[in-house]
Symmetry: C2
Subunit: 185 residues, 2 copies
């Protein structure tokens, strides 16, 4: 028997996207967003209310980074989602994050988070709150690579569970994509 | 030291979205998509090439469902991502899926997958491949509920790993959202 929950933003899994930007004074900022995902082969789309300082920043600089929250930094990633950049301009450093300017876009990479997308702003719409970014480069620290590939078991990305407002780790491998389905003829 | 991977569609986690539609003859179809996510408080956006039968169907019916791939049905979910609905009109039943018409939209729910969004088409753009859907209802089988809430550990949603083309399960809880960050003052 199915139960109805009405019109809600529930999906499993949801990502923990840590968006990095520079403000007008060159100070790095970071925020946490779950409403987004890949929207084309070199594009990411994220729903961001125009009230966020991040939105002011990415309009100004035309760029942002998207780091993936990981199991080592649950507290830090949650913190930048709780505190407003408008209210605390120092939240980035209070989180314990350190910034290195992306070599490809005018936005900060977060030294503590090993995986990130470097993005240029394609568009931002105040009415729909939709940010579309062109992924100009994917960057990952050597510590999360195996044989030159990003190793999800080293990266340990976290998952947002919107039903219970919790974060989860990644579990074990359960199958091979574009492969397991071939068992069905 | 960071390594560059260029402009690629890599993100962690990615969802396994199983999109259900009816064709012009009322036959259920399903496909697997990873490029999408929540895009507003009652909205989901998914990137779908216009070559998919699913796109023909959702244009015709103005509706679709999005079930979440789960650990019990890895093979079935992968199968509907490998086989084209244009080439095999019977792929839904070959996958072992059974359809029940959604009470809210003109699209099939998949009996075997316990969690789904019932969606009306807001827009589909052939050029950008962007499907935007209004989530009119969230439905979940009682078997994945605990105290009336969706229990992610019962649902066992799977995660697509775009780096190695594998599926992973959900791991254990590692934190509380909107809460853990309060430890940082």
């Amino acid at each position: 028997m199915r139960k109805n929950f009405g019109a809600k933003a529930l999906l499993f899994p949801m990502p923990v996207l840590i968006i990095g930007t520079y403000d007008k004074d060159g100070n790095p900022d970071a925020m946490n967003a779950a409403w987004g995902g890949i929207s084309d082969d070199t594009q990411i789309s994220i729903c961001l209310s125009p009230t966020h300082k991040t939105v002011d920043n990415l309009k100004l600089k035309g760029a942002f980074t998207v780091s993936v929250g990981d199991a080592k930094h649950v507290t830090e990633c949650d913190y930048v989602g709780i505190v407003s950049g408008h209210k605390d301009a120092d939240k980035f450093s209070k989180a314990g994050f350190h910034a290195t300017k992306s070599p490809n876009v005018d936005a900060p990479l977060i030294d503590e988070l090993p995986f990130a997308l470097e993005c240029k702003v394609i568009s931002y719409d105040d009415k729909t709150c939709r940010l579309v970014g062109e992924i100009v480069n994917v960057t990952a620290d050597e510590s999360v690579l195996t044989d030159g590939k990003i190793d999800i078991t080293k990266l340990c990305p976290i998952i947002y569970n919107p039903s219970e407002h919790t974060y989860h780790s990644i579990g074990g491998k359960v199958g091979n994509a574009f492969s397991d389905g071939k068992k069905i003829s």
